[in-house]
Amino acid sequence: MRRLAILAVLMAHLTAAQASRSPGYAAYERANRLFVAGKYQESFNAVDEALKLDSKLVPALTLKAKLSMAANRYDVAKASLEQAIAADPSSWFAQFLYGFQFYQQNELPAAKQALEKAYRLNPRDARTSLYLGLTRESLGQTQEALKSYREAIHLGEISGQLDTDMLLSGSRLLLRLGEFDECRQWIDRAIKLAPNSRDPHFESARLSMKTADAARAAKQGEIALGLRGDVTDRQVHFLLVQAYRSMGREQDAERHAAAIRALDEREGK
């Protein structure tokens, strides 16, 4: 699931690479097409070919970084991005990816520094603001994080990039802060945006539990359970145990508790 999330981020920026006529450009374009088609090994071979022809071709270096992250080779990604930044210090996308790979590796201070630089280079990219928000939140900078989430949502609206990650990252923080009204607004927008995604329904159910509406929580939880998303089955089952127990529906609660125990058993926990 984590790999898919990374690819989703990377795909969103496929067109962000700057066109550059260089000896390696044709090979890079082929690599990019293969990447989009999901042919990662072939793409990797083509991008290496491009870099042999032009070792400073920034789009090829960022593509190599993206491929490396998808293959969980963050060391290679980091080296490629450092080369890209050295070749073109004004490339916000290289900076963004540089920060993103630090974030993925939980190296939060370095992620923050790189993402702030990417933001200075291009303050209009919603994803940069989102990851800046996530990083700041992990570093305990709550108000700054919330500001970044709001900005990500705003920029997402303007650019047409708005997605559930932006809305739900913000809503989760609002839930922790007890700002339930705004939290509900963001969750409802996420449901509207992606009605067939598990995560918005799960967050809706969580908020309903916090506002003592167990019936609504159970309803949203059951919807979430039938959908796919980053939230795990275990998380949804646990929420449903609480919702049904609050409603006095012990058998339903027991069914979901048993499902968690079965998952634990299967995973050897």
């Binding site: 275990r234 998380q235 127990r245 609660a253």
Partner: protein, 539 residues
């Protein structure tokens, strides 16, 4: 509630002045062995019955041998001289120990009026019987408490606690086990030049253990028979309370990165693990936290024991409020401010005590991040401890900034023991620090309220009355509740007295004790600002 007492909670660190020169050694040598992260249990108990709480510290050992190669690795016993100082009496008492020790649990297991010591560790557990006269005897083998499981051998024990699960008047022993580990098979985590301690997911979990007291100095391993061993976790702190009021003491185990366990005592010698059903197994988003310290006592004075559990940075410590209906708890961390107030911290041991005696139990947490994670967290591992004031049972307010200069010093804080070491009615705290000196935080809160400490003496119940519930009724009819337990925090043990802050009330209308066997005793018009001894009426 009972008062308008508003004294700022303050502490003064006096370990050196008090003669406490203990240093906790974990034997870390850059190999990132998981055991190095975990030590530091400490106990506050009165081994010589002089009315002043003494201290026992657990200590590490060499790695990979897991031997106490010299006195620097000894566990240590310090006698409280009742004059603000302590004396190291380890050698005379014969309790220096062996093996890599983690935790200590103190209680009078044989009902002889002398408090005994159980030490839990990586490769060795030890039961010391208090012989009187400042001497102890190692009874581990005879008692059957070496902790060696027939199938798994000696498991790495991190915490332990005494409670009477079958109400037979004799204390039984619960041992919380962490993960399967051996030095030779230590996994390597992080890049070769920037190694760090591995996540618990790299190690297999273990079952916990329950030992029944046979009343003759021996114990029977009932882990399987009781159902305790059925649940495999990564056990850290353990705490006891009769959360459902059925007269039988239940067990909570905080687990590291897997769901917590709440073992409901079914009253027939068996337990059912109901953490999921009760709502205490996971955070409210269904995620497991890196649970460490736990306290199982009433935070909102409704007569129902609640749970507070510490976790790692960005977990947010949890507060599970006991709803008193159908065994349900609600996660109140967000609403009480504890979630946001603790997200930046990694908490080890903790304790809910009324530090300003205003009638509400506050929260003291020993903090430190894991070493070698600076590049990930953006901050150094040593942290200053925190104290949160309980505001009317509705929220916790971080009052650490005003808690005194000594309270602002960062260190790798781990274990805690709580007791009133100077008998001034204000609860003090002892905190161990990894590879550092112990700290004794003397409570110097000015304007603290009146208080009452209850020392229980069981006759048909266990001698210390552990598991008894004390209810205090104030002159205006309001009530405060406390359970007798020594199992508080992480790997540690605190004084067995049941303490109450009375606010502006210098006396209480009634003190009611419900003993573990169900007997109830009441005392009327009790004067405060003293330790009240209550002996169980013989039935």
């Amino acid at each position: 509630m009972p008062s308008s007492v508003l004294g700022q909670i303050r502490f003064e660190e006096i370990a050196k002045k008090a003669g406490l020169d203990f240093r906790l050694k974990n034997a870390a040598s850059g190999q990132f062995h998981q055991v190095e992260l975990m030590p530091g249990g400490v106990a506050a108990f009165d081994f010589d019955n002089d009315g002043c709480m003494d201290l026992f510290f657990t200590n590490g050992a060499t790695i990979p041998e897991l031997r106490k190669s010299g006195p620097e690795f000894w566990n240590r016993l310090y006698r409280n001289n009742c004059d603000g100082t302590f004396t190291d009496v380890t050698a005379k008492a014969g309790v220096g120990g062996e093996g890599y020790s983690m935790a200590v649990a103190t209680a009078d297991f044989d009902n002889d009026g002398l408090c005994d010591i159980f030490v839990a560790g990586v490769n060795r557990n030890i039961l010391y019987r208090n012989l009187g006269g400042g001497r102890f005897a190692d009874l581990t083998a005879k008692a059957g408490l070496s902790g060696i499981d027939p199938k798994r051998g000696k498991m790495w024990s991190v915490s332990a606690g005494w409670f009477d699960y079958d109400n037979d008047g004799w204390l039984d022993l619960f041992v919380s086990n962490y993960v399967a580990w051996d030095a030779a098979g230590e996994p390597a985590c992080g890049a070769p030049r920037s190694r760090f301690y591995c996540h618990p997911k790299e190690y297999a979990g273990l079952p916990n253990q329950l030992f029944h007291n046979n009343h003759d100095g021996t114990f029977t391993d009932v882990s399987e028979r009781s159902g305790i061993a059925r649940s495999i976790g990564k056990g850290m702190g353990v705490a006891f309370a009769d959360f459902d009021g059925d007269g039988f003491t239940d067990v909570f185990v905080a687990n590291d990165s897997v769901r917590h366990f709440l073992f409901r005592n079914q009253g027939d010698g068996t337990f059912r693990e109901i953490g999921l059903e009760a709502g205490v197994a996971l955070r409210d988003d269904g995620s497991a936290i890196a649970g460490m310290g736990v306290d199982f006592r009433d935070f909102d004075n409704d007569g129902l024991p609640d749970l507070v559990v510490s976790g790692m940075i960005n977990d947010g410590f949890r507060l599970f409020r006991n709803l008193g209906k159908r065994g349900l708890f609600e996660d109140l961390a967000q609403r009480t401010g504890l979630e946001m107030g603790t997200r930046p911290f990694t908490g080890w041991s903790l304790g809910m005590y009324d530090f300003d005696n205003d009638g509400w139990r506050d929260l003291f947490v020993a903090l430190s991040h894991f070493p070698a994670l600076e590049r990930y967290l953006g901050r150094a591992a040593p942290l200053a401890n925190r104290v949160f004031r309980n505001i009317g049972g509705r929220r916790f307010e971080d009052v650490s900034a005003g808690a005194g200069a000594d309270f602002q010093t960062p260190a790798l804080h781990h274990g805690t023991a709580f007791a009133d070491f100077d008998n001034d009615g204000r609860v003090d705290a002892v905190v161990t620090t990894l590879e550092g000196p112990v700290k004794l935080f003397r409570n110097v809160t000015a304007g603290a309220g009146h208080w009452l400490a209850v020392r229980l003496k069981g006759t048909t119940s266990n001698r210390q009355g552990l598991g008894a519930v004390v209810r205090v009724t104030l002159p205006d009819g309001r009530t405060l509740y406390g359970e007798a337990t020594t199992s508080v925090g992480y790997a540690s043990s605190s004084e067995p007295l049941v303490r109450f802050g009375l606010g502006l009330n210098a006396h209480v209308k009634q003190v009611e004790v419900r003993w573990p066997g169900g007997g109830v005793q009441k005392l009327s018009d009790v004067k405060g600002d003293r330790t009240l001894e209550i002996e169980e009426a013989r039935r």
